[in-house]
């Protein structure tokens, strides 16, 4: 589905990713874990095209999309739920959802309202409120909902359960599994909470200082040793 | 400062300074004066120059920035060592360079009508003094031929020329028995655009058909003023506007439909159909076309253009007469000098550095030209100190040291 090959990325003079590689398999949840500041978010931003890779390649569905901008990538079927939610604050909840349609393969299908509101009931009550006025957790829900509206084939999630109440976090886990199984969605998840990661992941990568230091499938993983690794 | 010998003659050329704003708010008016000076220079150079030297104009842009006027004047006099400077339009700019010219004994040719009350040894005023423009205009409006108006709305841009002009006008009107309540004075800032309120005030003031407007509005405020005037249903028949700062150059591309019949007082009009003027007008159009200046052959001449042009000739004649470019000698030579200007013969006053010239009143025609409806037969002598407001003062550099008490 997605191959990241030896990507180098930097903010100005400080290089964060030093030749990172990773592969996201179709119809599976791939999780990247790592301590604070190792470059997980940077990796997702680079894949999405918010930061341009200085070296290396990003290949999506056998197509080299390294040079494509974020909008192009969104249209190609990648949806992104960033860390920090990035709700458009002065638009209403509904308008925020409408924006999800921008990258949808078929705009006319509209917002799958029932599905979304079943998942996140609070969004229905708050349809007309400004997105920026929602509580932190509500915004996170909105961000995920917005990504789902665009019916992506690859979903990039940056710590999606951050600030979300446990029941909904669990629900999100279920939904992800469901989407992966039923619709063949592929997911690249960045997560620090092992519990959630374990609930949904099929494959793991561990990152340290801009490089992948270990990876393997859920079955192969020795979490005890990894936890030690991440802790330092 | 170092006086006297601040003139250079490094062989072939003699330098003069041109100090007109080429950018900023005043560029609209002053660029034409730069062109007029340039044309005079070209003509003189083509006919052999002055005292065997070609004139080399040093053009700078004081950018409608009054401080920069002073700075540029210093630069021209001290660093560039020019023999004379041709420049300024607004009185502010003249006031700002005045100390510089006096300190460095320079010579400034100032081509625009102004408020008087000044008498500098270092300025040659080729524009009109109040008695050469303001008073004859008011006189005309009060006369039977002019309509016998009894109420006067003095409207001006808020700066020294309109303020002083209105002070003098008011003194004149009061002296002619116009009651105080029949005179209204009002000022708007430069670039004022919204004349709705003022025009409705005028409309009420003029309801009985006996009122006229004496306008010292300057620059780009004129168009919105005249348009609003017409649109609220006023016209030259009900309430004429006598303008002191609207000339052909301003009318050139105004929508003259609104203006027809309104008046202006000047010392020169392009429509003056003497042969020398026709030649001048043709020459100016040809010059603008040849130099590729905006407007090209559609350019017109007007009063300040005429005096800016005349100024250069006056200086050249005086230098020739003096046989030197030295400021003191040129100044002496200028006293009483006569010259055949596009406006006919004009004469430098013997003592006060101003120019004696005819006074005319014109009525605006649809083509942006003026119908000359009144013209003095003789040259009107300049009075820098108006007898109306400063009866005890006069200006004379020959028998006195400038301003003196009579």
């Amino acid at each position: 589905m997605l191959q990241v090959e030896n990507v180098v990325a930097a903010y100005g003079q400080s290089t964060i990713l030093w030749g990172t590689s990773l592969e996201v398999k179709a119809g599976a949840v791939t999780t990247v874990m790592g301590r604070n500041g190792v470059g997980k978010t940077t990796l997702l931003k680079t894949i999405m095209g918010v930061i341009t890779a200085r070296e290396g390649k990003v290949v999506f569905k056998d197509r080299d999309i390294t040079a494509l901008g974020p909008a192009g990538k969104a249209k190609a079927g990648i949806a992104y739920v960033p860390q920090g939610r990035e709700i458009i604050p002065k638009l209403t909840v509904y308008e925020n959802l409408l924006l999800g349609l921008e990258a949808a393969p078929d705009r006319r299908a509209g917002i799958p309202e029932e599905e979304i509101y079943r998942l996140f009931p609070i969004l229905k009550d708050f349809r007309k409120r400004a997105g920026g006025n929602l509580s932190g957790g509500q915004q996170q829900q909105l961000a995920i909902a917005r990504a789902l509206v665009s019916r992506p084939s690859l979903l990039l999630l940056d710590e999606p359960t951050e600030g979300i109440q446990p029941s909904i976090a669990q629900e999100i886990g279920h939904i992800l599994q469901q989407l992966v199984q039923e619709k063949g969605l592929s997911v690249l998840l960045v997560e620090q909470k092992i519990d959630f990661a374990r609930q949904v992941s099929d494959y793991y990568y561990f990152m340290d200082r801009g490089k992948m230091i270990n990876h393997g499938s859920a079955e192969e993983m020795d979490f005890a040793s990894l936890e030690r690794h991440i802790a330092v | 400062g170092k006086t006297g010998e601040n003139t250079t003659d490094n062989g072939e050329t003699v330098k003069i300074g041109v100090l007109h704003s080429l950018s900023g708010t005043m560029a609209i008016s002053e660029v034409s004066l730069r062109d007029a000076v340039q044309m005079a220079v070209d003509e003189i150079n083509a006919s052999g120059g002055v005292l065997g030297k070609k004139i080399e104009p040093v053009i700078v842009d004081p950018a409608s920035d009054w401080d920069l006027f002073a700075e540029k004047a210093k630069e021209l006099l001290i660093d560039k060592k020019v023999s004379a400077v041709f420049g300024c339009w607004t009185s502010v700019s003249r006031k700002s360079v005045l100390p510089v010219f006096e300190e460095n004994n320079g010579l400034l040719f100032y081509p625009v009508q102004y408020e008087g009350e000044e008498c500098s040894n270092n300025v040659i005023y080729t524009g009109a003094t109040p008695n050469q423009q303001l008073i004859p205009a008011a006189e005309y409006l009060m006369s039977e031929k002019g309509g016998g108006y009894k109420k006067f709305y003095l409207l001006g841009t808020d700066y020294v020329f309109p303020r002083t002009a209105n002070k003098i006008l008011k003194a004149y009107l009061l002296s002619k028995g116009v009651p105080n309540e029949n005179i209204i004075e009002e000022y708007t800032p430069f670039h004022h655009q919204d004349y709705q309120t003022i025009v409705s005030k005028i409309k009420r003031f003029a309801a009985d058909g006996k009122a006229c407007v004496l306008s010292t509005i300057n620059g780009d405020s004129n168009v919105p003023f005249y348009k609003e005037f017409a649109n609220q249903g006023l016209s030259s028949a009900t309430c004429p506007i006598m303008a002191f700062s609207v000339a052909e150059d301003e009318l050139r591309s105004m929508d003259t439909e609104f203006l027809v019949g309104h008046l202006a007082a000047w010392n020169y009009f392009q429509s003056n159909d003497s042969p020398e003027n026709k030649k001048f007008v043709e020459a100016f159009k040809a010059f603008c076309e040849k130099k590729g200046l905006p407007g090209g052959s559609k350019r017109v001449t007007d009063d300040p253009i005429c005096w800016a042009y005349t100024g250069v000739y006056l200086w050249a004649r005086a230098a020739t007469k003096a046989g030197s470019f030295d400021v003191n000698k040129v100044r002496t030579a200028l006293s009483g000098l006569e010259f055949d200007s596009p406006d006919g013969k004009v004469k430098m006053d013997v003592g006060n550095h101003h120019l004696a010239k005819p006074v005319m009143i014109g009525e605006i025609k649809p083509d942006g030209q003026f119908d000359i409806i009144s013209k003095t037969d003789n040259l009107v002598s300049p009075q820098p100190w108006s007898p109306l407001t400063s009866p005890d003062k006069d200006c004379d550099w020959v028998n006195h040291k400038g301003t003196y008490t009579k």
Partner: protein, 251 residues
């Protein structure tokens, strides 16, 4: 009583965001507040620190009414706040962030003639060590990752040395290991500070909730009790924890 609150209510656009009849906190108590998204937890902290004006109600800090005071006055009384979205000085270095926060006279003149004492420097390094930012002390705070900013903001509040710390979701965006470290830090602080912590990470809550946990729902107090009471309270499970929660099962 370090903090006591009566009949606090605020609504936004017709929705009652908070309506709390009573709440109180002892001087050295660490209180955890949990509750569904949008329950009004952050709003509660916003009111205490003067950021949001309540419609009605009173807040007493050390028996002093603080409603209507400005943020600065409240901060000067000794209430420090960590926000849900990290809020640091992005243009300053990490060290300067900490330096500005440290407890000291904060008027203009003192600032103009301020010289950091050895003691203060040592303290800053000590805190930096604790929050794991020693290596990035001289980098610009705006360039930190999300988690690092969280840490930095905790450091800022700690150095302020307030009597009452209001901490909104400190563990968000941190790994389990770091979450644990945060917990230890908070527990240590609770030895001589009053602390209110908001969190959704149950493991973390379990770690730090030595005394009572408060559950809010739709702006109202749902229950208050020990962690275990709460964990097994049916109402809390229904509205907040969720049934058969795999993540909670290994608690």
């Amino acid at each position: 009583m370090l903090l006591s609150v009566n009949n606090l209510a605020v609504s936004f656009g017709g929705v009652q965001a908070l309506s709390l009849s009573h709440f109180s906190l002892q001087p050295q108590e660490l209180r955890v507040i949990i509750g569904p998204n949008g329950a009004g937890k952050s709003t509660f902290l916003d009111i205490i620190c003067g950021r949001t004006k309540p419609d009605t109600g009173e807040v007493y800090f050390n028996d002093r009414a603080i409603m209507g005071m400005t943020e600065v006055s409240i901060a000067r009384l000794g209430i420090g706040r960590k926000f849900q979205q990290p809020s640091v000085f992005p243009g300053l270095t990490v060290y300067d962030n900490l330096l500005l926060a440290a407890k000291m006279k904060k008027d203009i003149l003192s600032s103009l003639f301020f010289k950091p004492s050895q003691l203060l420097k040592a303290r800053i390094h000590e805190v930096a060590e604790k929050i794991g930012l020693t290596k990035v002390l001289s980098s610009i705070a705006g360039a930190l990752s999300h988690g690092q900013k969280q840490w930095l903001e905790i450091g800022i509040v700690v150095l302020q040395d307030p009597k009452l710390l209001l901490i909104d979701e400190p563990a968000a965006g941190m790994s389990d290991e770091e979450t644990y470290k945060t917990g230890e830090l908070l527990l240590e602080l609770s030895n001589n500070h009053g602390i209110i912590v908001i969190e959704h990470d149950m493991k973390f809550v379990q770690q730090i909730a030595r005394e009572r946990v408060t559950v809010l729902e739709r702006g109202k107090l749902l229950v208050e009790g020990s962690f275990n009471d709460i964990r097994n309270d049916q109402r809390v499970i229904d509205c907040y924890l969720g049934r058969n929660n795999t993540q909670l099962e290994n608690l």
